[in-house]
């Protein structure tokens, strides 16, 4: 029999206090991590200021590699975001009870990932101060954006995705904020959480509307999450560059996105349950399920790789063949390519073993490898394709600068920083849902 979503069914009050504990208590380790990630975030700010003041030239980009780290990081982050929405929205529609205890963590992850992702398109512009020209507004020059380009699509997609994720997250949060308000140890906290709770009283009618709205948001978010990475993939697919110009990109990218996303969920929840003693709430069952999902996505990605290569060969097009069958496995970035393959294709096969899926340490390791692999995948897609396209005369390789690297490191820190703040000030586990779940399980037991 599968292990249950909850190992214990504590009383409502204990449960609330257990889940609210991080909000009221201070912890040294938290402060330490906060300081570390804070420092990293300062690095990000510095690199950003540097980029804006000296110019995009401070990045390693060149012609032909007009896009590189900036876009790689963008795609990587937005991809990570996807798992959050998937877990909370998609699994909600599929009525997977086990999502309850981890969906808010996943959603928070989405929010912060999207935030990071949104930084890069702005940063990588030659003249970021004119970024608003991508918005259709009645300008005195009467010139408009050009909507055949995938970039305005991107802009709309990310805007929508970010907003919807935020709404979804907040709506789900309201009842718990109310709990926090009512359990607040001090008046100050009571007022703050009170304001954000919007005066939630939990009447049957409110619950009903809440449920419907939440469901509808989930219904909207699910196709949205598919569309977003499909659109991101079109930044590449609509071009005619060998290695980009491919019809499999949308599903391929969505799968890849979820793949890295699940890996990130694993990497976040495992330390989380450990630090806050939540093994009873986030159980092996959860790890097991996410592990399976990751494995499934791994195979989707492998399929995409195979098809990509096959079509390149089957097309008989010399440029496609060179890019995918020679450029990647043997070109200047061959090493990265093979590392990527071992991370994305070989490593996840361990997840066939239940022992690996349920052992936090091993699972974390595999997830980490996948994470690296997926970043490299974006590097390969973007740089190896650009650096060697049609005319051999313009071939040139790419090397990142310290600014590129600082930006990557910086956004990772910012991500963790935001996540820490989230753990400290927001109920990270959806209290009402867990209660609901625990009562159902207890009821089941009663009937059993």
């Amino acid at each position: 029999m599968p292990s249950p979503e909850l190992l214990v069914t504590p009383g409502d009050e204990e449960l609330s206090d257990l889940l609210l504990a991080p909000l009221w208590s201070k912890s040294r380790i938290w402060l330490l991590l906060f300081a570390l990630t804070g420092a990293g975030t300062l690095l990000l700010l510095f690199a950003m200021t540097w980029t804006f003041s000296t110019g995009i030239g401070s990045w390693g980009n060149n012609i032909p590699n007009a896009w590189a780290f900036g876009i790689i990081n963008f795609v990587w982050w937005i991809g990570i975001g996807h798992a959050g929405t998937f877990i909370s929205a998609f699994l909600l529609l599929l009525q997977q009870p086990w999502r309850a205890s981890i969906n808010r963590v996943a959603e928070a992850m989405t929010l912060f990932a999207v935030l990071n992702a949104a930084l890069f398109p702005l940063l990588h512009l030659g003249r970021p101060w004119f970024a608003y020209w991508l918005i259709p507004y009645p300008a005195t020059m009467q010139v408009w954006p050009q909507f055949r380009s995938a970039l305005p699509w991107d802009f709309a997609a990310i805007l929508t995705y970010g907003t919807v994720s935020l709404l979804f997250w907040y709506v789900g949060l309201i009842p718990d904020l109310a709990t926090a308000r009512d359990r607040a140890p001090t008046r100050g906290k009571q007022i703050v959480y009170g304001i954000f709770a919007l005066g939630w009283r939990g009447s049957a009618r409110d619950w009903q509307r809440h449920g419907i709205a939440y469901g509808l948001l989930a219904g909207l978010a699910t196709p949205l999450v598919i569309s977003v990475h499909s659109i991101v993939s079109m930044d590449f697919a609509i071009t005619q560059l060998p290695g980009w110009h491919s019809t499999i990109f949308p599903p391929y990218f969505v799968a890849g996105a979820l793949y890295s996303g699940f890996a990130m969920v694993i990497m976040l929840t495992i330390p989380l349950r450990r630090v806050f003693r939540l093994e009873t709430i986030i159980t092996e069952r959860h790890l097991d399920s996410i592990g399976k999902l990751a494995l499934a996505m791994g195979w989707a990605v492998i399929y995409a790789y195979v098809i990509e290569a096959f079509i390149a060969w089957y097309s008989g097009n010399i440029y496609e063949r060179y890019a995918l069958l020679i450029g990647r496995p043997l070109g200047p970035y061959a090493l990265l390519y093979w590392i990527m393959l071992s991370c994305n294709c070989a490593a996840p096969q361990l997840l066939w073993l239940r022992r690996v899926r349920t052992s936090p340490l091993l699972l974390f390791g595999v997830a980490a490898l996948i994470q690296i692999g997926m970043w490299l995948e974006r590097f390969i897609i973007i740089v190896s394709s650009l650096s060697r396209d049609f005319l051999p005369s313009s071939w040139h390789s790419y090397r990142p600068t310290w600014v590129d690297l600082s930006l990557l490191a910086g956004t990772i820190s910012l991500f963790l920083l935001l996540f820490l703040l989230f753990l400290r000030f927001v109920p990270a586990i959806p209290i009402s849902e867990v209660k609901h779940l625990s009562h159902e399980t207890s009821r089941d037991e009663a009937f059993a």
Binding site: A139, T140, Q142, Q190, I191
Partner: protein, 216 residues
């Protein structure tokens, strides 16, 4: 612990919320309106010149034609600012001792240009050619306004790209016969649209909205 909020907090909160939402919506609208104001376009701001030259007087009272001083307008990209000698064609005869002419004489004798201040200033990436506009039936007034009514010349038109496009898209609404080129306050004898279409035929005027028409 008491109830989280007193009764009045409710209404206060809602008001604040409303105000917040409205500002968020209003800011961009305000900006869009603001960039259309003279403050940004630089309209209606009489410019002080090194020489107190009064167009109102010279054009209206003396009836001097624009092309007498800006004689290149028909032939070259630039209408041309008259050389000092041109002022003296008349003023070596009349008002020669007027203190207002002091800088002119100075320039003439020291052979140093009079540093006139530019009034109609387009960005550096815009290339405007007077000759072609003048020859295709765009009157001075159409862009420079009623110079004959300006003591100190100021920019009367917004000179925004949108403004240029109005005419580049529909020249017929603005064209006038070459003879009336320098006339101030000209009124079309027949309905403008109709006259404009005729002139477009006659002068071979095109609707040019290519970027490189102006940006090169």
């Amino acid at each position: 612990m008491p109830a989280p909020f007193p009764k009045w907090a409710d209404s206060l909160f809602r008001v604040l919320l409303a105000v917040g939402l409205i500002t968020v919506a209003a800011v961009p609208l305000f900006l869009m309106a603001w960039v259309r104001t003279p403050q940004i376009t630089g309209q209606f701001d009489p410019v002080r010149q090194p020489v107190e030259f009064d167009h109102r007087h010279h054009v209206d009272d003396d009836g001097i034609d624009c092309l007498y001083c800006h004689e290149q307008a028909e032939r070259t990209p630039y209408a041309g600012i008259p050389p000092t000698e041109r002022c003296l064609n008349c003023h070596s005869q009349i008002w020669r001792n007027s203190p207002l002419l002091e800088p002119v004489w100075q320039s003439y004798f020291s052979n140093a240009p009079i540093p006139w201040v530019r009034v109609h200033q387009l960005p550096d990436f815009v290339f405007f050619n007077h000759a072609i506009h003048v020859n295709k039936g765009v009157g001075c007034e159409s862009c420079h306004g009623r110079v004959d009514q300006m003591a100190r010349v100021y920019q009367q038109m917004p000179l925004t790209m949108g403004w240029c496009l109005e005419c580049h898209r529909n020249p017929e609404r603005f064209l006038r016969p070459r003879e009336a080129m320098t006339v101030m306050g000209w009124q079309p004898p027949e309905p403008q649209e109709q006259l404009g279409r005729e002139l477009m035929q006659q002068y071979g005027v095109q609707r040019l909205t290519n970027c490189t028409t102006c940006h090169r």
